[in-house]
């Protein structure tokens, strides 16, 4: 199905724009690895998507780069991928994304216009989805998520960073015109509330955690460095976090599910879940004390 979509010259192009972000979601995207096509980021970019604008990897700079984006915008048939929060203080000037004919264009302006004409908008990472770290604490730039800023629908692939497999999955669904069911936070149910193989499973990290004391009898760690123990007293937000990291971060660990070495995730290295996929991330609470929303 994907191949048919890709062979189709009318398939939408992809514009990837970065706002108030750390580039970490783009770096995560480069880490894509899968057993099924597209297998890695080279495969994604060479065969799966017509990525006309991505500031971190594109060849052109300056107005040549902006021209590529404008051409895609004029055609109108594009998927918009947004990484980073939208700073709204000072008329958006905390983030300037390009200059054209001598005038600076803010991320806020670009998001407003590009979302209006996009076939669909995919928010990559918790900053674009919900504001994330730039919007936390005193929120000095009055940063916010894209959906809150534009009022337009988005497909939210949250995470800090966003899991590359989830990002590619979302783009593939759009390219193949496959309907995507979303939860109340705009996140695909298939990614955040299902198992790796697609069956229903508890969406809450804690409920399926191999260190859940109720299910597994694992002792609770009183301090860091207690290998293999439940991390609930050290700030774990697993009971309040809905995702399938238990399966999906295996991609980063170099191994997909079912292989002898299951790969790694935060809890696997004795680190609490910090709830980075949730709209409550990071919140004012300590990451090292028992978490209460």
């Amino acid at each position: 199905m994907l191949n048919e979509a890709l062979a189709n010259p009318a398939a939408p192009s992809v514009i990837w724009l970065i706002g108030s972000a750390c580039t970490g979601c783009s770096v995560s995207f480069l880490n894509r690895i899968s057993d099924v096509a597209p297998v890695d980021v080279a495969d994604v970019v060479a065969k799966a998507v017509n990525l006309v604008f991505h500031p971190t990897i594109m060849g052109a700079a300056g107005e040549t780069a902006v021209a590529a984006l404008k051409t895609a915008y004029a055609k109108g048939n594009y998927i918009l991928v947004l990484e980073g929060a939208v700073p709204t203080a000072f008329q958006g000037h905390p983030c300037v994304v390009w200059s054209y004919k001598g005038e600076e264009v803010t991320f806020q302006q670009a998001v407003q216009e590009l979302t209006a004409r996009a076939t669909a908008t995919v928010c990559v990472g918790t900053c674009a989805c919900f504001g994330g770290i730039p919007a936390s604490g005193a929120n000095p730039t009055r940063a916010m998520g894209v959906r809150a800023f534009t009022g337009r629908p988005t497909i939210n692939i949250s995470g800090c960073p966003a899991n590359p497999d989830w990002v590619v999955w979302a783009i593939v669904q759009l390219l193949t015109n496959t309907p995507v069911a979303l939860d109340e936070d705009g996140r695909p149910v298939a990614l955040y509330s299902k198992s790796f193989t697609g069956e229903d499973e508890p969406p809450i990290i804690h409920d399926k955690c191999p260190r859940n004391p109720f299910n597994t009898g694992t002792p609770e760690a009183a301090n860091f460095g207690e290998n293999g123990h439940c991390l609930i007293n050290l700030g774990c937000r697993g009971p309040f976090t809905k995702a399938r990291c238990n399966a999906a971060w295996c991609g980063i660990g170099g191994h997909t599910a079912g292989q002898p070495h299951p790969g790694h995730w935060c809890i696997g290295v004795n680190a609490p879940c910090h709830g980075c996929v949730e709209k409550t991330f990071p919140g004012p609470q300590s990451f090292s004390e028992p978490y209460a929303p």
């Binding site: 995560s28 017509n50 700079a61 005038e103 407003q112 730039p134 936390s136 170099g254």
Partner: protein, 514 residues
């Protein structure tokens, strides 16, 4: 012939948001850059975001300053917390922590170097793959024969896998990358198993071989084919290295890459005294009272427009002088790179430094104890101050912490790109990149590919450099390079995409499946 002013915005293939403006004129028959301005165009305000938080959160929050050097900030924050709360002693826990931090930090170093050379810098010298997003690009000339083109293209594709392997390797102990949760006050969360070590080694050995057989020779080949860049792009000639990769558990540990400083015209390597570092703000959008204070006491009050200010970056200076930081600086300070200090030297030094780190990682992996917890507990009293110096893949990094009433009262970060891409300082001395650009011959002022080559040689990370700024409510912002051009002008609201006045957003948003 009039002076041409060219603004490149965005500078692509970097981390973060950067505009570079150059003035181009013909001097002695050669069209060249006669003035340059480095302009950071993003700020998020991490300093304010951190204030009031549990100090232990600093490792996690500061990691998010940068998705390319997250472990450098995580490590710097862990060091500053260790220093603040007195984590010390020559114990098995501290040995395990030091080795795990070095291994995960090292993995990110290798990832960053490979990413930088092949994906970010190489497209300045060789036409990209004939598809978006590499085509259309700027004209890079046709200096390579078909065999060389084939070689670099093959290695470009290999590099995509090799840099991913670096992150997969680091994630064995880090859990995930970028933004590992492993770096904590007192140590590291992971406890290594024999299986982890074996898997890590399975990644590391091919990486060492690839860096040695492919990456290092590729930088030398590129330098030989573009040898004019062995004579172009020199910065101020002053080099600063904070040093990185602790080799023992003492309070002043030996470092794989030692701390030191070379001042142009002064023989030998000089010591580093952080009391000599001050940030100047005459050309930065901050109140003048923020300038010329010791880092730990400095503060950040955005002010714009402001006189001739043109950048969100402050201008850090050592004894009032601009210093270049990065792989070329520390490899030269360590006596391990003895070539020049020009653009191509940065690439060659970065590759050799990657090889040195990769080889050292073998030793750290061998020393890493199996089953040994890597955490030292310390109470976190209400008041503390500390400083920590380390390096990120692109140069010297410092974190400064002040804890009041058990909460972060003040957090200061001075990043490598702040040094390298700083604007002019109070005396009008340009930043290292600005100095490196002046005198650069430019063939096409509309598409000055030569400028990109110099910018990319520094591996700039604007995400890092523009993180700690703080905007004052009600301050006015305007376009352009600040007061010299735009003072008092009412900025017209220009449509982002059309370059025309804005229209109402379309009432019918794009259809969303499901």
């Amino acid at each position: 012939m009039p002076v041409i002013t060219a603004a490149i915005d965005p500078i692509t293939r970097i981390e973060g948001h950067l505009k570079v403006e150059v003035k181009v004129d013909t001097v002695n028959g050669v069209q060249q850059v006669v003035d340059a301005f480095s302009v950071g165009t993003l700020f998020r305000g991490f300093e304010k975001i951190l204030e009031g938080r549990d100090p232990r959160d600093a490792t996690l929050i500061t990691s998010r300053i940068c998705g390319v050097c997250p472990t450098s900030h995580g490590h710097a924050a862990a060091l500053v917390l260790d220093n603040a709360y007195g984590v010390d002693g020559d114990t098995p826990e501290r040995t395990a922590a030091r080795l795990l931090r070095n291994l995960v930090h090292g993995a990110c170093y290798l990832e960053s170097a490979i990413l930088h050379f092949y994906l970010l810098a190489l497209p300045d010298f060789i036409a990209g793959l004939p598809m978006a997003p590499w085509t259309p690009g700027w004209d890079v000339g046709r200096r390579f024969d078909p065999g060389t083109v084939s070689r670099f293209t093959t290695h470009f594709v290999e590099a995509i896998a090799q840099r991913r392997n670096c992150h997969e390797m680091g994630a064995i102990f880090g859990g995930k990358l970028p933004h590992t949760p492993g770096f904590i006050l007192g140590g590291f969360t992971a406890v290594a198993s024999a299986e982890d070590k074996a898997l890590f080694s399975q990644y590391l050995e091919p990486l060492v071989a690839w860096i040695e057989s492919t990456y290092v020779p590729d930088t030398e080949l590129l330098a030989s084919l573009w040898s004019e860049y062995l004579q172009l792009g020199k910065g101020p000639g002053n080099l600063l290295a904070f040093g990185v990769f602790e080799l023992d558990n003492s309070s002043q540990p030996a470092l794989l890459l030692r701390r030191g400083r070379i001042r142009q015209g002064v023989p030998g390597v000089q010591p580093v005294d952080t009391a000599q570092i001050m940030e100047q703000v005459k050309y930065s959008w901050y109140a003048d009272t923020d300038g010329n204070l010791p880092i730990a006491q400095s503060d950040t009050h955005a002010q714009y427009p402001k006189g001739a200010a043109y950048s969100w970056l402050k201008a850090p200076r050592y004894e009032g002088l601009a210093y270049e930081v990065g792989p070329l600086a520390w490899m030269t300070v360590n006596g391990e790179y003895t070539g020049g200090i020009w653009a191509m030297d940065r690439h060659m030094a970065r590759a050799r430094e990657a090889l040195k780190i990769a080889q050292a990682m073998r030793q750290w992996l061998a020393e890493l104890p199996v089953g040994q917890p890597a955490y030292t507990h310390r109470p976190t009293p209400g008041t503390a101050t500390a400083e920590a110096l380390t390096e990120a893949p692109r140069g010297a990094l410092g974190h400064w912490l002040q804890v009041n009433d058990g909460r972060i009262g003040k957090y200061q970060v001075v990043t490598p790109t702040c040094w390298n891409l700083s604007p002019q300082d109070d005396s009008g001395q340009r930043g290292p990149l600005e100095q490196a650009l002046i005198g650069l011959p430019v063939a096409n002022a509309d598409k000055p590919i030569e400028v990109l080559r110099i910018v990319h040689s520094y591996d700039p990370c604007l995400d890092c450099a523009t993180h700690v700024t703080r905007a004052e409510p009600g301050a006015k912002v305007f376009a352009g390079r600040g007061g010299t051009r735009g003072r008092g002008r009412t900025r017209p609201s220009i449509s982002a995409v059309e370059g025309r006045l804005p229209r109402r957003p379309r009432s019918k948003p794009g259809g969303l499946p499901g």
